[in-house]
């Protein structure tokens, strides 16, 4: 081995190319599962790194650089790609070799990028990707001539079928062996003239190859006649959304119940085996309850992301964004906000993470700020408890379930207020900023299960580690606040009443009295800060349900139906539509916006809205019920 085994000394190869050139599929084929996803330092651009072996058993470190349309760096993604190629990104080494990936069916556009990349003076290999698709379109590209015209080795690849990967590995070996990286690289300046010049150059190359005018009618064009049809298009979109929601909410149900019972049995097992101590309480009420409250949402998140990835891989998602652009534009958002907001119905955390696909910083920020207003699944246990206790289970208007109608109303309430907030932001903080859409609608592809599986696995990992660690540590802190100090000798009330959380809750009940919350609710809101659904368990504790009650919600229903007024119940429901009671969401916002400014603004505006809306609800209901 000529090079040391330490990963810092490995040769670095970077995949560079336009978005939608099949770069990530090629990355997956080369590295398999030996890859990790993180962020570039200081920015929220995804950094994908992996390893592979060449033919000569040389271990190579591979980067999948963010997709770029040009080397102008107009988006954070493109800035990262440009900085890495210049060797100017702190903490990142300059690549020893570029694998420039192009879509063989779209040479006209993608070859311009190759010409631009050539200016960096880094050794390069061209991967002519999707060459099977090109062949099917009757497009045979003479790789020898193309290689001569460009002055770099050209390899035909078909990432989804692994074809050509062997050739690519061989070429990488060859080029790494002969061409050392020059110490100084030119930093090309790209102007309208260079683009026009490169464009001419591409035309010249393509005409020598005899593939200049290859604008045959594609299968995608046929599909788009229906999918983007003014009438059929929106209906297809609605059907898709309906299927996704049904799968997320109904399909995930048995899995969530299964996970819940596993968590409960572990908790019960530990509770029975361990002696009564602080340690037992910390393990059972802090650690297990904390981890369980996160894990229970995993089925929903997996199912939702499965559909999102399928729609993304197939090429449908950008088309959905295209159709919704006008509608979302009316409140100052763009079509691109659609995917993150859709994800937020399962959980705002992956939704906020998904805003990375929005290139415009203003659109991205607005989307992040309203994402928590989408009704996430953590609100459901609270909604279910209050609705079961206060809304009679009868049918109105010829068969519509009243309880279901109230639930739907809460969902719609969230969406409408999100639109309102977006519209207000458009009028105030984000005024007068117009920008372009320029969204690519890539050719349709059959989704490749391997890529879906890798994508799903990465998201699950991110969710579990990021949210898991944050929520777990917060749950432990809240457990501490709720159990210390222990009640004095001869105390009659529940233990939590005497703890720090209880003391804070009682003080807070002064603040919450105008919106109808009693001290029991106020106390339950404290542990409920970590995650919304925890409030149900906390209410159980406050109302002194015996420990080990299996169905907390079922036992609570008659209790609160008796002791709360309808006005209090309605006020709490409305509170939950707005209140940002999810520390992991705020942590995600802090991470995605690189600072405390936006999570603090979010915290204040959402609590403000919650308080005002609950105040109105409480007093209107009071007046209406003759209180």
């Amino acid at each position: 081995m000529s090079r040391a085994n330490q990963s810092s000394d490995l040769p670095i190869v970077a995949l560079v190319g336009n978005p939608n050139c099949g770069k990530t599929a090629l990355f997956n084929v080369l590295t398999g599962s030996r890859q990790k996803v993180a962020n570039y330092a200081g920015v929220t651009v995804e950094r994908k790194e992996g390893y592979f072996l060449t033919r000569s058993d040389q271990r190579i470190k591979l980067f999948d650089l963010p997709g770029a349309y040009g080397l102008e760096a107009e988006t954070p993604d493109e800035q990262v790609t440009l900085d890495v190629l210049r060797g100017r990104l702190p903490g990142e080494q300059r690549p020893d070799l570029i694998v420039s990936v192009v879509d063989a069916t779209n040479l006209r556009q993608h070859l311009r990028m190759v010409l631009g990349l050539r200016r960096f003076g880094i050794p390069m290999v061209l991967a002519l990707n999707m060459s099977d698709l090109a062949a099917r379109h009757g497009l045979t590209i003479d790789t020898v001539s193309l290689s001569q015209a460009l002055g770099i080795p050209v390899v035909r690849t078909t990432a989804i079928h692994r074809a050509g990967v062997g050739d690519l590995l061989m070429k990488i070996d060859e080029v790494l062996a002969e061409q050392p990286v020059t110490a100084d690289i030119a930093i090309p300046v790209i102007t309208a003239e260079t683009i026009a010049h490169d464009h001419e150059e591409v035309r010249r190359i393509l005409s020598t190859l005899g593939v200049l005018d290859s604008t045959a009618l594609r299968t995608s064009d046929h599909i788009d006649r229906y999918v983007l049809h003014p009438v059929a298009g929106p209906m297809i979109l609605l059907c898709c959304l309906f299927v996704v929601f049904q799968a997320v909410f109904i399909g995930a149900q048995p899995l969530m119940e299964g996970l819940n019972s596993v968590v409960e049995s572990v908790a019960t097992f530990l509770y029975q085996r361990l002696p009564d101590s602080m340690v037992r309480s910390l393990l059972v009420d802090g650690v297990i309850a904390g981890a369980g409250s996160v894990l229970v949402f995993l089925p929903q998140i997996i199912i939702l992301f499965f559909f999102i990835l399928m729609l993304e891989e197939s090429g449908y998602l950008p088309r959905a964004a295209f159709m919704l652009d006008k509608l979302m534009g009316s409140v100052g958002l763009s079509g691109r906000s659609f995917i993150p907001l859709l994800s937020s119905f399962a959980c705002a955390v992956p939704g906020i993470m998904a805003t990375r696909t929005i290139q415009n910083p203003r659109d991205r920020l607005m989307t992040i700020m309203i994402a928590p207003l989408m009704t996430c699944s953590a609100r459901l246990p609270v909604y279910a408890l209050i609705i079961a206790a206060f809304i009679p289970a009868h049918r109105v208007w010829g068969g519509v379930e009243l309880q279901g109608l109230v639930l739907l109303g809460l969902y719609v309430g969230g969406i409408v207020s999100a639109m309102l907030v977006a519209w207000l932001m458009k009028l105030t903080a984000f005024r007068n900023e117009q920008h372009s859409l320029l969204l690519e609608l890539p050719a349709y592809h059959m989704p490749v299960m391997r890529n879906i599986a890798i994508g799903l696995w990465q998201r699950v990992q991110i969710f579990v580690t990021r949210v898991g660690t944050i929520i777990l540590s917060l749950m432990i802190i809240l457990w501490f606040l709720s159990s210390v100090p222990s009640p004095p000798e001869g105390a009659v009330g529940p233990a939590i009443q005497y703890s720090y959380a209880g003391q804070i809750g009682q003080a807070l009940s002064q603040v919450f009295a105008p919106i109808g919350f009693n001290w029991q609710i106020s106390i339950a809101l404290i542990p409920g800060l970590a995650a919304r659904e925890v409030a149900v368990g906390a209410l159980g504790t406050v109302y002194a349900l015996s420990a080990g009650t299996h169905d907390v919600s079922g036992a609570l229903t008659p209790l609160i139906a008796q002791s709360w007024s309808l006005a209090t119940a309605m006020s709490l429901l409305v509170w939950y539509v707005f209140a940002p009671q999810c520390l992991s969401t705020l942590a995600a916002v802090r991470r995605e916006t690189n600072g405390w400014r936006y999570p603090l603004i979010m915290l204040v505006y959402l609590f403000g809205m919650a308080y005002v809306a609950s105040f109105i609800t409480y007093h209107v209901t009071l007046a209406w019920t003759g209180g």
């Binding site: 683009i195 788009d224 652009d325 372009s436 320029l438």
Partner: protein, 85 residues
């Protein structure tokens, strides 16, 4: 006679004559980006879909399809291609 991309009938092939800044059209950044993604003189375009109201539109340029808002589309001057051309 050149027309703006906004007025090009659906599925009608046309050739780009000029991409320029017009009142209420694309700004400098958008114009540069449009050149990068292939909106350049001499390229063949067609409008493949329009959202009711005409904003945004989906445009096929060379071998790619892009969604453009009205503003950007208004900056693209095209010449309709007759079937025999």
């Amino acid at each position: 006679m050149p027309v703006s991309l906004i007025d090009l009938p659906l599925q009608q092939l046309a050739v780009i004559r000029e991409v320029k800044s017009v009142a209420g059209g694309a700004d400098a950044t958008a114009l540069r980006r449009m050149a990068e993604i292939g909106f350049l003189p001499g390229e063949i375009v067609k409008v493949v879909a329009r959202i009711p109201g005409g904003d945004p539109i989906a445009v096929r340029v060379a071998s790619s399809t892009f969604a453009l808002r009205r503003r950007e589309a208004s900056s693209v001057q095209v010449q309709v291609l007759q079937p025999n051309e």
